[in-house]
């Protein structure tokens, strides 16, 4: 299962090779051409097919990178200091198992047992700069021989599907989007399609920036695994998205305001095909579309996402039905772009 392979693969921003290799193997038979650009984006190309073709260049983007850690220092006792890559809440780090570097050296982000906590420490939030990763090294030298400064660490979470129809794993933001894109590439479309698996989204939409400049599409879609906070709330306020209620369509987030025609196209497609959908709560988060839409003279863009609980943590959850409905919505909506005039 591609989703499982991609979720388990390790690819912190700037180090996406493992994910990219899996994707190349998966999609190379589905596309006419592919290349890896200078920053590491995987840019695939499918020629327009069918009788009524449109002179339209469409770009679909999903990012390969995930949030993680970067080793920056060996302590004298053999513990490792680290920095965060991408947005991670310090509170989710403590007591987690991580895998470091190519050799997947296991380590634990250690924490003081409750027996030793002073009364006032129980209320404190520990920041990541006070944490260390313990790989069991006896001293600095032993740690240095196992792990290098600049090695990346990822959470050691194994993907699994649950009986409820949910799936759990790490990095579903945005391996969910990568899997949706790989599925979309199985079919033919009446326009030139560029399926782009981007790098370094989590550190500033950097891969999408150069990919969009090179591809120069007429229309762009960002495919995502997005925030879902649907636990019960005291007040009658909106969750960002709800699990199991279909793909989330972005109208506006912190990075861009979606093209209204594309939003309408998605909503109409969903309604006509009875595919459930939801509007993502406006102004939360950002995606590759934030860079793509202001590339060159501007590119009408929209984002479609699989609602995912607990993103940017060691383990997130999503509903496989939402994943399937996202693929269904996109594959039904894309052919309708034929009539899209800019």
């Amino acid at each position: 299962m591609l989703l499982e392979k991609l979720s388990n693969a390790r690819g912190v921003s700037g180090n996406e090779a493992e994910v990219r290799e899996i994707l190349i193997d998966t999609v190379k038979s589905r596309v006419d051409a592919y290349r890896v650009d200078s920053i590491g984006n995987l840019i695939t190309f499918k020629k327009a097919r069918g009788a009524r073709r449109a002179a339209l260049k469409v770009m679909l983007a999903a990012h390969m990178d995930e949030v993680g850690l970067l080793i920056v220092h060996h302590d004298s006792n053999g513990h490792l200091r680290f920095r965060k890559v991408g947005g991670i809440d310090d509170r989710v780090l403590l007591s987690k198992v991580v895998l470091i570097g190519k050799d997947k050296i296991p380590g634990v982000i250690g924490v003081k047992p409750i027996h030793l906590l002073k009364e006032k420490e129980r209320d404190e939030i520990i920041d990541f700069e006070s944490m260390t990763i313990d790989i069991g090294a006896k001293n600095k030298e032993e740690a240095q021989s196992a792990v290098n400064i600049g090695d990346y660490a990822t959470f050691a979470t194994e993907f699994a599907t649950l009986d409820s129809g949910l799936a759990k794993g790490k990095a579903l933001d945005d391996r969910a989007g990568c899997t949706v894109l790989a599925e979309i590439l199985k079919r033919d479309y009446p326009f030139d399609l560029y399926g782009v698996f981007t790098v370094q989204e989590e550190v500033g939409l950097r891969g999408a920036r150069v990919a969009a400049f090179a591809v120069e599409p007429d229309v762009a879609f960002a495919l995502e695994g997005t925030v879902c906070d649907d636990s019960p709330k005291k007040k009658d306020v909106s969750p960002t998205t709800r699990l199991g209620e279909g793909p989330a369509i972005t109208i506006a987030d912190r990075s861009f305001i979606a093209d209204k025609r594309l939003v309408d196209l998605l909503i109409e497609t969903a309604r006509e095909n009875r595919i459930p959908y939801q509007i993502k709560q406006p102004m939360v988060g950002g995606t590759d579309a934030g860079r793509i839409h202001i590339t060159k003279e501007g590119i009408p863009s929209v984002a479609v996402a699989v609602p995912t609980r607990y993103i940017h943590t060691p383990v997130s959850l999503f509903d496989l039905k939402d994943f399937e409905n996202t693929v269904a919505l996109m594959t039904k909506a894309l052919p309708r772009l034929r009539a899209f005039s800019i």
Partner: protein
């Protein structure tokens, strides 16, 4: 330069059957533009109003992928060195966007651009479909002075959720009508409809220019200069000028700033996003001095304009800003002095009528 009408205290007041004085055309235009709806990403209505004003005086008009309105006035040629000049004023105004409709029909919202909670409570907003609402606040557990964004809501007068005539993702702008105070005017969205007014007026007054001119009415400035980013890339100018509002330091106990209402357009030296190109600043200063147009120099501590995006497009473009001094920026009632607007127009017309040399 047209002279401003003598200030009267209540020029629109019904004075017992006398025929109402016709408003100055520039004020009429300001009223029309400021009272039009147009939060970021929702510029379709204001774009059509501006298009209507300029369609007979532009050589070409196009709307780009993001919605920028790009009007070209071809140069008459001849002058050396001839320049391709981009002038930008943004059409969008700050606003809010609905994030949730609760069971009772109250709306929660997020902001589009720099909206501060203190400017909202008790004020009105209006949606694209004309629906008006008022910003209310949760009072329980709050001091009378507390105004926090996540404790504010919009009330559109609905009895329950199903009666609400707008939905999640719909945007609203402030709703206030234009007020004519004589020399001074108050309106919502002076930022930056007054810049649009100035550009329209420059297009009208400019008889002849050796330069190829692109008047760009941009979108989404308030959420990150996004329209200027794409339109500057498309126009690829040799010189870029933004016309936008700037703060003043002339109100009681204000943050010190050497810009005042009525003392002329402000020529930007620096703001928090850019340093004006020294040669562009010099050009504006020299033309103002030669034409005896009052001007002020502007150093703005917080905020920036489309010029920041234009300056860094492609290989870089010499850029500057002509600012209209404005009190109460980013509130529902922003005040400008019409003399400053007219002097800004005069300055730009003088700059564009003559050969431009940037050293």
């Amino acid at each position: 330069m047209a002279t401003a009408k003598k200030a009267t205290h209540f020029p629109n007041f019904d004075r017992g059957g006398e025929p109402a004085e016709r408003m100055h055309p520039l004020k009429e235009l300001t009223k029309r533009l400021t009272e039009t709806y147009g939060p970021p990403g929702n510029e379709q209505l204001i774009r059509e109003v501006i298009r209507e004003e300029i369609k007979s005086i532009a050589d070409e008009i196009r709307v780009d992928a993001l919605g920028n309105l790009i009007a070209r006035k071809k140069g008459s040629g001849g002058a050396v060195p001839r320049k391709k000049v981009m002038l930008a004023a943004h059409m969008d105004e700050i606003g809010v966007i609905v994030t949730h409709v609760d069971e009772k029909g109250f709306l929660r919202f997020a902001t589009l651009g720099g909206v501060r909670p203190i400017t909202l409570f008790g004020h009105r907003c209006r949606f694209a479909n004309g629906v008006s609402g008022i910003f209310g606040r949760e009072k329980k557990d709050a001091k009378p002075t507390d105004v926090e964004m996540d404790k504010l809501f919009i009330d559109v007068g609905a009895r329950e959720a199903k009666d609400v005539p707008v939905g999640v993702g719909d945007a609203a702008g402030f709703w206030r009508d234009f007020a004519d105070l004589g020399d001074r005017m108050i309106a919502k969205a002076m930022d930056d409809r007054i810049g649009c007014v100035a550009l329209i007026e420059v297009m009208r007054q400019l008889k002849k220019s050796p330069h190829d001119l692109y008047f760009v009415y941009t979108v989404q400035e308030e959420v990150g200069l996004r329209g200027a980013t794409t339109s500057a890339y498309g126009v690829q100018p040799d010189l870029a000028l933004a016309v936008d509002v700037t703060d003043t330091g002339d109100t009681p106990e204000s943050t010190p700033m050497a810009v005042a209402l009525g003392k002329g357009p402000a020529i930007k030296v620096k703001d928090s996003g850019m340093l004006a190109h020294p040669a562009v600043k010099e050009l504006l200063v020299n033309v103002a001095q030669e034409a005896k147009i009052p001007y002020q120099l502007e150093v703005l501590v917080g905020g920036t304009t489309d010029a920041m995006a234009m300056q860094t497009t492609r290989e870089g473009v010499p850029a500057g800003v002509v600012s209209i001094p404005t009190r109460y920026v980013h509130t529902p009632s922003e005040m400008v002095d019409m003399n400053d607007v007219q002097n800004a127009v005069k300055l730009l017309v003088n700059v564009l009528s003559n050969p431009i040399k940037l050293d």
